[in-house]
């Protein structure tokens, strides 16, 4: 039993150690049990996640509250094509709320982001506001793509194991909290897929971990490259 908690404790000790050498002590992300812990419930509906999901988001307020996020995710919420920061524009509001509240709760590890997204910066209502604002933003055209050398393999893998949940066009499923992967930066998709496979993205869906458990680096790259090029949701049919 004890050994399960050693890793987070060690991580916390290291972070605290790092903190003391830095002049300013920034707010440290809490740690909460995730997929490494028996009894883990994916996307458990409670606390501020529930509050934010039930709140009526306001895109105008969201645009203002998003200001603090722009320094990394960019003013158009396009993130960085090198994958260092994901594109948020056009993502499902439910997915954005899940991921943001998971970071705040400490189920998805991200110390870099935490001090800018914690509850002393953004309220649960503002989470809902930001989410609905971002969902409505158009997808920026600048997408970081992969090498493009193994797209057939990527397509086969995607159709075999990913399509049922993430959709034929990579559009995801808002009601099920499955993210849109279409038009996401390749390097970000690859990084996250790797974290999921290795159990390091602790708020991952267990089925997702199982799906990519045996993927090689080349396979992860191929499927990430394919996903980044998917067209996304179909445009509304023009009125006759």
């Amino acid at each position: 039993m004890l050994h399960r908690f050693m890793t987070p404790l060690l991580a916390a000790a290291l972070l605290l150690g790092a903190g003391s050498s830095r002049a300013g002590d920034e707010p440290l992300q809490p740690w909460a049990p995730g997929i490494e812990t028996p009894g883990y419930v994916w996307n458990e509906m409670r606390g501020e996640k529930l509050i934010a999901l039930e709140a009526q988001g306001d895109p105008l307020r969201g645009e203002i509250a998003f200001e603090v996020c722009q320094g990394c995710h960019d003013a158009n919420a396009g993130g960085e094509p090198d994958g260092s920061y994901p594109r948020l524009a056009g993502q499902h509001a439910t997915v954005l709320i899940k991921q943001l509240t998971d970071v705040r709760a400490g189920v998805r590890d991200n110390q870099k982001m935490y001090p800018y997204a914690a509850d002393h910066v953004i309220t649960p209502q503002e989470i809902a506001d930001i989410a609905v604002y971002l969902q409505g933003l158009p997808a920026p055209s600048t997408i970081g793509l992969g090498p493009g050398t193994n797209l057939d393999r990527g397509k086969a893998l995607y159709q075999h194991q990913c399509e049922d949940c993430h959709g034929t066009r990579g559009q995801g499923d808002a009601a099920k909290f499955y993210p849109s992967v279409a038009g996401q930066h390749y390097a970000y998709l690859l990084r996250e897929a790797r974290l999921i496979r290795d159990g390091d993205r602790r708020n991952a869906h267990p089925d997702m971990v199982e799906a990519v458990a045996d993927y090689s680096e080349a396979e992860l790259s191929a499927v990430a490259d394919y996903m980044s090029r998917l067209p996304g949701p179909e445009a509304a049919a023009p009125a006759e």
Partner: protein, 218 residues
């Protein structure tokens, strides 16, 4: 304030005309709050020696106030009043300020046109520009442009930076870095500066000083 307490930063030859001006105008107080003339007189008597009568200070240690957002100016003055932000030079003036005067002064300085700044370390500007617009990804430093806007104009929540003295910007970044200044919203500046190195802070200060000052507010 007592100008003589700070002889190195306040040239003595400026004092006589200022004192004369104060006498000639019978030193009107700011309590006649709605009269813009009285605010200007107060500024001339209490603020101008350091910050300039139009809010464009000459000495780089003193911040330019011209063009700063009303919200930001009022917050800083109120933070000085409550002790949340501390400064020995500001203390004697702050002690006497009323809430109405805070509002008048914020209004006055927010309407002044920000003058261009000076870049002293030209070799640092390229790095400073990159940090300002792109941040420092590997250390989690967000781009300044996110909150302070690409043109440095800021928003009601984040102050105008363009054209500010590099020495003042650097002093504030260092103070945030070391937690000596702690009146930032949600610790955002302490976190950001805390992730920056000394050369990062110097570079971005030099870049900010050289940014084109935005047009005056109406």
């Amino acid at each position: 304030m007592q100008p003589s307490s700070n002889p190195t930063q306040t040239p003595r030859r400026c004092l006589a005309p200022l004192a004369l001006t104060a006498l000639l105008t019978c030193a009107p107080t700011l309590s006649q709050a709605d009269d813009p003339e009285s605010t200007r007189a107060f500024v001339q008597r209490e603020c101008a020696q350091c910050h300039g009568v139009d809010g464009n200070s000459i000495a780089p240690a003193f911040p330019k106030l011209a063009g700063l957002q009303h919200e930001y100016l009022a917050k800083q003055l109120n933070d000085f009043r409550s002790g949340r932000r501390q400064n020995e030079i500001m203390a004697p003036v702050i002690e006497t300020l009323t809430a109405a005067q805070v509002d008048d002064l914020a209004d006055y300085f927010s309407r002044q046109r920000r003058a261009m700044g000076t870049t002293y370390l030209k070799g640092m500007v390229r790095l400073g520009r990159r940090i300002y617009h792109d941040g420092i990804e590997e250390r989690g430093v967000p781009a300044c442009a996110g909150c302070h806007k690409p043109d440095g104009a800021g928003t009601p929540r984040s102050p105008l930076l363009a054209g500010q003295h590099s020495a003042y910007v650097l002093a504030q970044l260092r103070a945030f870095h070391s937690d000596q200044r702690d009146n930032d919203r949600a610790r955002l500046m302490r976190t950001t500066a805390g992730r920056m190195t000394e050369s990062d802070m110097i570079a971005v200060s030099e870049y900010i000083a050289g940014m084109d000052a935005i047009p005056a507010q109406p």
